[in-house]
Structure formats: C-alpha cells, structure tokens
Symmetry: C2
Subunit: 377 residues, 2 copies
C-alpha cells in the first residue's frame, strides 16, 4: 500500500474510526471533498498542495466559487486567526503551510491575532498577548516563509471602527438559540468572541479593508462552527452589506506525540518551533509509535504507521518528498525498520529544520515588531 497517490487521499482517510467521524461530519454539514476542486486548480495553473495530495487537507466548502472568481481575474484572499496563548508549534505550522501555498498562488493573506479572545477565554493580559502574538506567532510565520509584504497581520483590538461595527451589527442578526445550536452553551464572553470571529472572517469584504469578496478560511473541522455562523450572517447581510459566504478548507488535526490532541498546554507531547535541539530530540524519541511489543514481533508483523505520531511528523512536516515518505511507510509496514532507528532518521530531518528555522527567526522577530501595528492599552 502506498500512502501517497496523486489524486487520492492518503492513508485512506475513509477507513479509520476517526475518519469515519470526519465523513459523517462532512455529510452532516455539507462539506465537499477537496478532490472536487482539482480541475479548478488546474484551470488557475495551481499545483495541488502537498497537504491536499496527502489527504491532510480533505474537505472544502465553496472553494470552487473562489477559484472560479480567481480564474475571472478577481481578487482572492485567505484568512486565518491565532490565539496568542502559548508557543508556536507544529500544529500551527500546518495552517501556515496552507497560507504560504495560497499566497504563492496569488492569494492575499490576512492573519488576525486574537488578543481579545486570548483575554476573554484564557485571561491572558494585553502586554503578554501582544508580545506572544508578535514574537511567537507572526515571527514564526515570517520565518516559515510567509511573505510579510503580501500579508496583513493585525490584532483584533486594533482593527478599527468599521470592524467593531460589524460585531454590533451581527449581534442583531442571530438569536441565542441559533448560537447555542452552533456552539453549545454560551456565555457573554463566548457570544462576543463568536461575533468577533465572524467579524474577522467577514470584515475584509468591506471596502475599507480591501473589498475581498472571495475569502477562504482554512480550519480544522472543530472550527467549523465559526464558518457556519459567518456563512449564516453573510446570508443575512447579503443585501445590506453585500456580504458573500466565506469559503473554507478542512484539514485533519495533527495529534500530539502521545496520541492525544496537540496542545501548547501539554508541552511534553508538542514540539515547538523554538524548542532547543536536545529538548525536541527527547520529545521525538519518546513519541508514541505504531510499533510492536518486541523487535521480533515488529520484524514479523510490521509496524502500524497510521498509529505512529512520529510518522505524523513525517507526513505533515518533515518528509517533503512523497517517494521518501512512501519508503518509510512501506519499510515500517514490512517490518524492515525498527522504531528507534526510524525516529533517528526523522530526528535528523527535524534537527536540520529547527536549526535553519531558528536562524531565520531572530531576524523575523525584529521585522515583526517593525511591521505590525501593536495595540496599546
């Protein structure tokens, strides 16, 4: 079996239990398969991204409309947000890789640092949120290759009057029951936070923010509520503000190295892009794999790369060559390689990546402070 086949989803995402849930979610919420837009990528002279080919970016909504607009020569944009609440890790990189892919193919990029949300949800103070936003998030994005000249970075609390007006306007366009149907139980902070996220997604359609009517938002499926709320609000303001439903792409969430959700709050199972080499190495070497109980069994039965969080690092980040990835996959499956050796192989890739990235990061930090208008209080 080959984990990477052009035009097909890799690691057969429709087979595993987790992915059956994805399929159910897709059907429930009307998310379409990413493959459906491949002809339109071609029409626009765009290659498929590595994450599409590998089945990591697996779904979309209305991306066809955005690509058709692009083919007609209209402006297109991609927008995402980060809550400045911890250190920048490889889960964040997954989203930034998508920004870079779309940017290199002619999309304008908008990145919001959700400092308002960081405060209301995580009680992170303003100064800390600003510092983390600039030095962790924006600096790492620039170091990864996002072109700051073609990117608008902004803080939620610094976005200006028309943006805030949208939040107030939206509040009159949705009922509490609708919000609870989308988000579950809500409180004042969640109400304001959800409406703020809808403003983030929709405001760049206003003339004063560039008038980008065709906007893609790359999300994990857990963030789909924000997309649904924004699409409902766009419908309800299609006449008054000429808002258009935002499009979205859906990616699988990379697991942490212990097999659970990757999170800054569990640093032992999350590799940060600023981890010193010895720390990163230690985390990677301890990663939960799909290996067998003994070397003998592993050689006889082969490993299960689908269960291996180290293989996730290869798949999502470290091995950019599909051939190399397939070889590792098959060597594991066939019992030709044991976990320790396999991890060392990936570690060398990671070591090189971190070394080069961290070199770029210092410069990127200086640049980030210069180009981003940080809010004050």
């Amino acid at each position: 079996m080959d984990p990477v086949r052009e035009g097909q989803v890799a690691i057969d995402p429709w087979s595993s239990k987790a992915i059956k849930d994805y399929r159910r979610l897709m059907e429930t919420f009307g998310i379409r398969r990413i493959e459906e837009i491949y002809p339109l990528l071609e029409k626009n002279g765009m290659p498929k991204s590595l994450h599409m080919v590998r089945g990591i970016v697996f779904g979309q909504r209305d991306l066809d409309k955005v690509l058709e607009a692009k083919a007609r020569g209209e402006n297109v944009a991609i927008l995402t947000g980060f809550m400045p609440s911890g250190r920048f890790h490889f889960g964040h990189k997954l989203t930034v890789d998508q920004l870079i892919y779309f940017q290199r193919n002619g999309f304008k990029v908008f990145v919001v640092i959700a400092d308002a949300e960081a405060y209301s949800v995580r009680k992170i103070g303003r100064e800390e949120a600003i510092r983390i936003g600039i030095e962790e998030y924006i600096a790492n994005m620039i170091a990864l290759g996002l072109d700051p000249k073609e990117t608008t970075f902004y803080f939620q609390t610094n976005r200006g009057t028309a943006y805030y007006r949208l939040i107030q306007l939206f509040s009159g366009k949705v009922t509490m029951s609708e919000m609870e149907a989308i988000y579950g139980e809500v409180n004042p902070a969640k109400v304001v936070s959800a409406l703020t996220q809808a403003a983030d997604i929709l405001h760049i359609q206003l003339e004063e923010y560039g008038g980008y009517k065709w906007v893609v938002v790359p999300v994990g499926i857990d963030q789909d509520p924000h997309i649904r709320l924004s699409r409902d609000l766009a419908d309800r303001l299609s006449r008054d503000l000429k808002l258009v439903r935002p499009a979205s792409t859906y990616h699988k969430l990379q697991r942490g190295l212990d097999g659970d959700k990757m999170s800054s709050s569990r640093p032992d199972s999350t590799i940060f892009l600023t981890d010193p080499p010895e720390i990163a190495r230690s985390k990677l070497m301890k990663a939960l794999t799909g290996g067998r109980a003994t070397a003998e069994e592993q050689r006889r039965l082969g490993g299960v790369p689908e269960e291996c969080t180290k293989f996730d690092m290869d798949l999502y980040h470290l091995l950019t060559s599909n051939e190399e990835l397939s070889r590792i996959y098959n060597d594991c499956r066939g019992g030709k390689i044991l976990c320790g050796e396999c991890k060392l192989y990936s570690w060398r890739k990671l070591e090189k990546f971190l070394e080069e990235h961290q070199k770029k990061l210092e410069k990127a930090k200086d640049l980030a402070w210069k180009i981003v208008e940080a809010p004050s209080f």
Copy 2:
C-alpha cells in the same frame, strides 16, 4: 398644601401608589434620597436644581463621592445616552435639563448617540440613525441651552478602538446568569447592547477619553440595570483599569398626556419639541386631567393635580417659578379654576416656549452637523 417646599420633595412622592413602588425599589437596590447630598451641593456652591426641589430628581447613588471629589478640585462629568429612534420630546428634555444644570455647575458633559443599539434593538438603519441623532437629538439639546463647547457628543459606532476593547474586556467579566439576573431574558443583541452601554458609562474614565473618574449618570429607575452592571464591572476592573463605580441620579418619568408612559411611538400623547403650534395645542387641550365630571363638582370638590398630565407639563417644564406652580396647584385643589381655562394658561407658556425653541433649532441643526463627527458605513 404646597407642592413646592425647599428641601422637601414635592407632590409628596412617598404617598402615591407609584411612588411607594419607587421607595421599595430604592430600598431593594440601595438608592439613597437626593436630599442627602444637599450639604455637599452647598459646599460646592451649587444651588439645588428645580427638578430636585420639586421631587422629580428623587434619588442618587454615590453622588456624594462625586461632589466631594469636585470640592477637592478634581474633574467631574455627567454622561447620558439617547437612542436615535424617534423624535425629541419633553421626556428627553427632562434629562437634558439635568445635563444643563450640572454643566453650568462645572461638570463636563458626555452625550452618546446609541446608533448601534438603535440598529440592534429597533432595526433603524445607519443613515437614518445618524440623521435623527444629529438633527433631532443633538440639535434640540443645543437649542435647549447645552453648551456644545463643553459637551462631547459621539456616536457609539464611531468611538474608536479603546472603547470597543472595553466591550470585549467586559464580556469576560460577567456571567450569563448575572446578566439574566439584571436584565431578564437576554439574546446576543441584548448582551452586546448591555456591554456597549457599560462601555459608554465607563470608558470616559480611560486616559484617552479624558480620564474622568467621577461620573454621574442621570437615569429613570427603569435604566438602573445599566448602572448596576457598570458598577459591578467597575469593581471587577478596579485594579486592572483603575475603574471607579459610576454615580447616578434617579428621576421620575414624566407620563404621556394619556397617563401612560410617554413614548415617541404614541405621538398623540407626547409633545415633541418640533411640533407645529396647532398640533401641540391640540394635544395639550386633550390631555388627561384630574378634573371632576362636571364644572359644579369641580368647583365644589376641587381637582386632583397629582392625576393631571397637563400639571405634569407645568411641574416638569412650563412653570419655572415655584410660586406660580403653587398658585396653579392650589387653585385646582380649591376648585377655583376649571380644566379648560387651566390648560389655556399652560398653552400660552408652551406656545412661547415652542416658538423660541424652534427659532433656535434651525441654527442648532447647522451647528450640530458641523461639530459632530458622524460615522459612515
């Protein structure tokens, strides 16, 4: 009986049924009698206002603290808001009279035009809200004598970033149950609207808006929920933002000419400051009075000015001389005057007032458009 006695509340507010409810509300919510601050008015060289003397402004919270700060030479302010949702009537004038009284005694005045709320609560479009805000509300206030040089007029949707930040900040400082305890059932528009009103009340304490720590908000008791929410939020941000609890005064709400609540939405029982004379006259002449069924009875038993909505017009607005007001009151009580004659007497006062006011209004409109920064969309 004399309706106006210095240092006492007029029309014995503690006797009637409605006012018994006021007393209960005052006890429940910890509102103090206005008389308690009279020594502090004297300390500041301030006369009592006509509305205080007549028992219309009957309660306060923490006004003593504001007056003590003023006596120490600190900056003090009075702030109120109007929803631009109809025409400016005598109920609005009651609040503006208080602004003018405090302004003439050294208070800085802030007036917010609640255009965000007009949209989310009443679905009034932006252009209309802006026009009504400027031509109806601000222009009438200036024509009434509010000094625009000592007043900051602003629209909610045009107040800038730090103000909006407060709304987001506040959202994390109050639970849904607390909001429901204060406001009853809430929806997203009400949540945002309540937090916006709290920002209106508290934002002028921030340095960028003047740093006014000592703020009075004159309200009818029905608006007390906003005061209570703002005071709770000020407590919770006393350390982070150095917010101080706002003070408030409480006034009785003038009834409409049919004895029910005065409202723009029932124009027949509400006199607008822009009513043409013949319209205003007709409304006043039809006002519900406390007169008897026949002239004979009226002469024998006397009328009941407390039940007379035309007498309210005298009391709140038309008769600025306490002697004149007492004479009318006693003549009615004593059966010396019949309702038609009494109404004509007040009409002559109203006619003169409207004539002079409407003359000033045209100039005030031009001025209002010039001095107020209207938002765009």
